[in-house]
């Protein structure tokens, strides 16, 4: 077992454990923080796979953006210091069983599926220059169109947010 | 404007006569650190507070001794300089501030009012006759108001006490002022 394997295990355990805590803790603020750690764990996995760019994107958007926003919305909407009400036993049981079953099913499917793994042929990195080139490429396989579409998506998201948010401000 | 009186760091390594080395004790080092880094709480109630500000100002400059890091929150402060009169309504607040400070903590009573009620000792119905009825005081400095130099002197006196590991006995206080506040 090499050091890198150990790190993989640590990272994935970190991500999964924090993810689990995030959905089970009864303090909503803590849930956000555990979610944050889980996301950082995933980001670590990206880094482990040498996708530095994706790592950075993940951290910037999730840690610096989404989680902050979630925390803000917690401040805004919650009596954040209080515990959330207990989840009903039955519902907990049902949800637990369902997701466990789903997990096992999916894992059984995946485990034996012969993916064409091309291990070792390439480092698998994604140099940022290539990403950039491909992103701006207007030819076939180029991502120029999606790239511009993203901006429209963002614009519409922004407009949507503002419309929704201002609705209450006026009221 | 050279440094005429550098305060030697006690933690330094001395040569001992036998040729070996000798390190000052931990207590000395801590005493040295604490005495040279007395961060005051921003607490001034009346006229003496102006003289306290003067002490901080350029002419007297208590930052030379490292006292300039005045903290607004008692959690990070080391010394309360009670600059001004304490009245009955303020007493619980002062007590609370003192209680909320992190240990170790020291108190300087600046001026006649904080020492004893001073100008308002007689015929007043609302003045606490000395801040030590409320919290234990380490150093008293008389004057109304004490000059900035006098406050510096008080701080240096406190330094001495701290450096000796000054442990102050708690003064038992009758708690007439501890009226419940609503």
């Amino acid at each position: 077992m090499t050091a890198s394997t150990v790190i993989f295990y640590i990272l994935s355990a970190f991500a999964i454990a924090n993810g689990f805590l995030a959905v089970t803790t009864r303090k909503i603020f803590r849930a956000a923080i555990f979610l944050l750690f889980s996301l950082i764990g995933v980001a670590g996995l990206y880094l482990w796979m040498s996708y530095e760019f994706i790592f950075a994107v993940q951290v910037i958007v999730y840690v610096g953006g989404i989680v902050v926003l979630i925390i803000f919305s917690i401040f805004l909407t919650q009596q954040a210091g209080e515990d959330m009400p207990m989840v009903l036993r039955g519902r907990q049981l049902f949800a637990g069983l369902a997701s466990l079953a789903g997990f096992i099913l999916a894992w059984l499917l995946v485990r034996d599926y012969p993916f064409a793994e091309l291990r070792g042929t390439s480092s698998g990195e994604a140099p940022i220059a290539e990403i950039g080139t491909k992103m701006l490429d207007t030819g076939t396989g180029g991502m120029a169109l999606p790239f511009e579409v993203v901006s429209i998506l963002l614009l519409s998201a922004m407009v949507g947010c503002i419309v929704i948010a201002l609705k209450t401000r006026k009221a | 404007m050279t440094n005429k009186n550098p305060d030697p760091f006690p933690g330094q390594v001395h040569d001992s006569p036998g040729g070996g080395i000798l390190v000052s004790t931990l207590d000395d080092v801590i005493g040295w650190a604490r005495s040279n880094s007395l961060w005051p709480l921003v607490f001034g109630t009346s006229c003496c507070a102006i003289e306290m500000m003067s002490t901080a100002s350029a002419k007297y400059d208590w930052s030379r001794f490292g006292f300039e890091v005045a903290r607004a929150t008692p959690r990070q402060a080391d010394v309360i300089i009670i600059a001004g009169t304490i009245v009955n309504k303020m007493a619980p607040v002062l007590k609370r501030l003192y209680d909320q400070m992190a240990d170790p903590k020291y108190v300087i009573a600046m001026g006649a009012c904080a020492t004893s009620g001073g100008p308002f000792f007689y015929n007043t119905y609302s003045v606490v006759k000395g801040a030590d009825h409320v919290i234990p005081v380490d150093v008293y400095v008389a004057g109304c108001p004490p000059r900035p130099e006098a406050l510096l002197h008080a701080l240096l006196t406190l330094q001495k006490k701290v450096r000796q590991g000054g442990k102050r006995e708690k003064i038992t206080i009758d708690k007439f002022w501890e009226q419940p506040t609503s």
């Binding site: - | 309504k89 007689y122 015929n123 007043t124 119905y125 609302s126 003045v127 506040t181």
Partner: protein
């Protein structure tokens, strides 16, 4: 307006008003019950325009209490001192804090230190002392053996 002119104007307003010899300013003594209406006239009557209440206090005499209002007009620059006699037991007078906003705090202070009740005051609480303070310290018969050391 001169003192004399003020006198006539005030007599016209409130015939019961008595005048005392003030040193600098006209002193008017009125009944506590007339105060509110009188104050309104003083404030709003053209020619009087006493818009500036610069001092409001109380004096505790052995037999009664005096509310003292110092009024001046920023338009005409004339000043008048109005005094109203109050009972020593349960002193009360109408508030004027809707006429002069500054009165709100001044009246609270007088309430705090003298125990004068101001009818219709929006927020009559102790101002300077703690809420549970006993007694009215600026009254002459106030005793506080704990806090007060007599010289």
């Amino acid at each position: 307006m001169t003192s004399e002119a003020l006198k006539t104007a005030i007599t016209a307003l409130l015939p019961e008003a008595a005048f005392e010899d003030g040193r600098e300013w006209l002193n008017v003594r009125i009944e506590a019950k007339d105060w509110k209406a009188f104050a309104e006239r003083l404030r709003y009557q053209p020619g009087l325009d006493f818009d500036y209440l610069f001092c409001l206090t109380c004096v505790d005499w052995p037999a009664h209490m005096d509310m003292v209002y110092h009024l001046t007009s920023t338009v005409h620059r004339h000043t008048v001192v109005v005094k109203a006699k109050l009972e020593r037991e349960d002193p009360a007078i109408d508030t004027v804090c809707d006429i002069w906003r500054t009165a709100e705090f001044h009246e609270r202070e007088v309430y705090d230190l003298f125990g004068v009740r101001f009818n219709d005051h929006p927020d009559l609480r102790r101002l300077l002392l703690t809420d549970d303070w006993k007694g009215w310290p600026l009254r002459k018969d106030y005793e506080d053996p704990v806090n007060m050391i007599k010289l």
